[in-house]
């Protein structure tokens, strides 16, 4: 899942995209669209909302391209925009509504796989920030430094968040096993 884009290539594509070159923008952002959609889906729990958020994030990325400094990695920069967009979407109701994500609420077809269900429950109980950090690091395979950039926190904070999430998952699993 990890995407590798060289700094030199980014710079060049970025400059071309800044001049309005759609092909350059597509080469820069295109490979990240699927990652962005998966991230948005993990935060919003709905394909169509995730697509809306991702598309809006792409539009914003185009408009904010000037803020992508030379040498700055594209992936965490773009995923940060996606995360902000998803937060905006969620915030319309977040203060008062218990939001249900399919991911964690819908019974799995393979109910016999109890461990997986337990883990899904444990994940569902994690604070959003911790779950996001796990998703970025484990599922999208981002290194800690990029997780930090995407979440707008320091690498040590990102590391701490991932560690804390893992620590919270284990007692949950142990408790469920009792």
């Amino acid at each position: 899942m990890a995407q590798a884009v060289t700094a030199g290539g980014e710079l060049s594509l970025r400059e071309q995209a800044l001049t309005g070159d759609e092909a350059a923008f597509e080469a820069l952002i295109g490979p990240l669209v699927e990652l962005a959609l998966r991230l948005a889906h993990s935060m919003l729990g709905d394909r169509w909302e995730a697509e809306d958020a991702t598309q809006e994030a792409i539009t914003r990325a185009w408009r904010k391209l000037g803020q992508l400094r030379p040498g700055m990695p594209v992936r965490p920069w773009f995923l940060a925009i996606v995360i902000n967009q998803c937060r905006n979407t969620r915030r319309t109701r977040w203060f008062k509504t218990a939001r249900i994500a399919d991911v964690f609420q819908r019974p799995r077809p393979d109910q016999s796989d109890i461990e997986r269900v337990d883990l899904a429950r444990a994940l569902a109980r994690l604070p959003n920030q911790d779950r996001q950090a796990l998703f970025l690091h484990f599922y999208l395979d981002l290194p800690v430094e990029e997780v930090a950039l995407a979440l707008g926190i320091s690498p040590s904070a990102a590391k701490g968040r991932i560690y804390r999430a893992c620590h919270r998952l284990r007692p949950d699993l142990l408790e469920e096993d009792k």
Binding site: E22, V33, R38, G45, E51, Q55, R90, A101, V103, R106
Partner: protein, 395 residues
């Protein structure tokens, strides 16, 4: 850690299955984004004209604010109004924990007291407010401690007699895990009276919802309590309870038809009318129930709040905005909030018809853990915007 990584990936993978085949998604989204960018480019002239109009409006408003500022008492002083005058209490935006008050006509404001960091919930008239540990009056003086404050108590729900409040606490229970919940009626400084055992109280440390008091009416002898249940399936149950006897007058359960989505309950201050709202990304609908629990009307939109007499409802669509104030019986929209600003909270003028509606400012942080910036709009029953105040968080 490798096992953990693998298990987490499998769990996330199961959730991502809904996305299915993603072929063609990249191209479709990029095309959509280009279209959005193009239309924005074409709209630049219109945007420029809009900005000019906003600047002119800002100039007019600034002049208005300046004139008002020099005629108003300094908010740094105390609240200089009679004790019986209803005020809206709010968190001072410049000093953490400070509770301020402002009259419903917006003409008189001042400081009330501190203790607002971990609380600050005010009664309808703003004569008392709850901190995290006690109840204080309009001068900031402690009137009494909060009764039976368990680690995860529901918030104080003030009654319409302006003195009592309702709360939900764990009922006595010898079992393990979640136990029954107890609705109580409390007189500050006095004893808490058990009203009825309602719903389930999750044990401390569990991420379980606690029943919420939606309305507490000593005047009408009833309370409305709502509880969300996440397993099995997501549902919300509402109870309307007689305070004096603990009798359940009526109850209703809503099941979320599909996910993602949400349900929510609000009620008039007297518990006479209860609105249950359901929303999905595509739509929001609400049903308003009458005193006996029968459905009176169905509305398009989410009901956020009621006016004091119950005739007006603050509603919003599934997108969250624009927020509207409607006469819910005939569906007439009396006021529409600014585009793009979702609902945050509202208060109804006790004994009056004005509504104070808090909308989330567009400059709020995108981080959901950061409290949003809220702008206050005070609207009359006929839909006139009487006054507004930026950066306003209700107490």
């Amino acid at each position: 850690m490798d096992d953990m990584r693998r298990d987490v990936i499998v769990a996330f993978d199961a959730g991502q299955a809904e996305l299915g085949d993603l072929r063609g998604v990249r191209e479709r989204m990029l095309r959509g984004a280009y279209a959005g960018r193009t239309s924005r480019h074409e709209n630049r002239l219109q945007v420029a004209a809009g900005i000019a109009a906003i600047l002119i409006a800002a100039l007019v408003i600034a002049t208005f604010v300046y004139v008002r500022a020099v005629t108003q008492p300094n908010p740094a002083g105390g609240l200089n109004v009679p004790d019986s005058t209803p005020v809206i209490l709010f968190h001072d935006p410049t000093k953490a924990g400070q509770i301020d008050g402002i009259t419903w006509d917006g003409r008189s404001a001042g400081r009330v007291g501190d203790g607002g960091i971990s609380g600050g919930t005010s009664n309808p008239a703003g004569t008392l407010y709850a901190t995290g540990t006690d109840i204080r009056d309009r001068t900031g003086k402690v009137v009494g401690p909060l009764a039976n404050t368990p680690p995860k108590t529901s918030r104080v729900a003030w009654a319409d007699d302006e003195i009592h409040y309702c709360q939900v606490v764990p009922a006595p229970y010898k079992g393990v895990g979640p136990g029954p919940a107890m609705l109580q009626l409390v007189l500050p400084g006095g004893q808490a009276t058990n009203v009825a055992q309602i719903g389930t109280y999750g044990s401390t440390g569990q991420n379980m919802p606690v029943p919420t008091v939606v309305a507490c009416s000593v005047e009408n002898d009833r309370a409305v309590v709502s509880e969300a249940t996440v397993s099995p399936g997501f549902s919300v149950q509402d109870w309307v309870v007689q305070l004096s006897t603990g009798r359940i007058l009526w109850t209703h359960t809503i099941k979320l038809p599909g996910s993602p989505g949400g349900v929510g309950t609000v009620a008039t201050h007297d518990g006479q009318f209860v609105a249950e709202s359901i929303f999905s990304p595509a739509s929001a609908t609400a049903t308003i129930y009458g005193p006996e629990g029968s459905a009176i009307t169905h509305l398009a939109g989410w009901v956020d709040a009621f006016s004091w007499d119950g005739s007006l409802a603050v509603t919003s669509p599934s997108s969250g905005y624009p927020v509207t104030l409607i006469r819910w019986r005939d569906g007439v929209v009396v006021w529409t909030g600014p585009a793009g600003l979702p609902f945050r909270s509202a208060k109804s003028e006790p004994g009056g018809m004005r509504m104070a509606i808090g909308l989330i400012d567009s400059h709020s942080s995108a981080d959901p853990t950061v409290a949003p910036i809220v702008d206050l709009y005070v609207v009359s029953a006929d839909g006139r915007l009487l006054w507004r105040k930026d950066n306003f968080n209700f107490a």
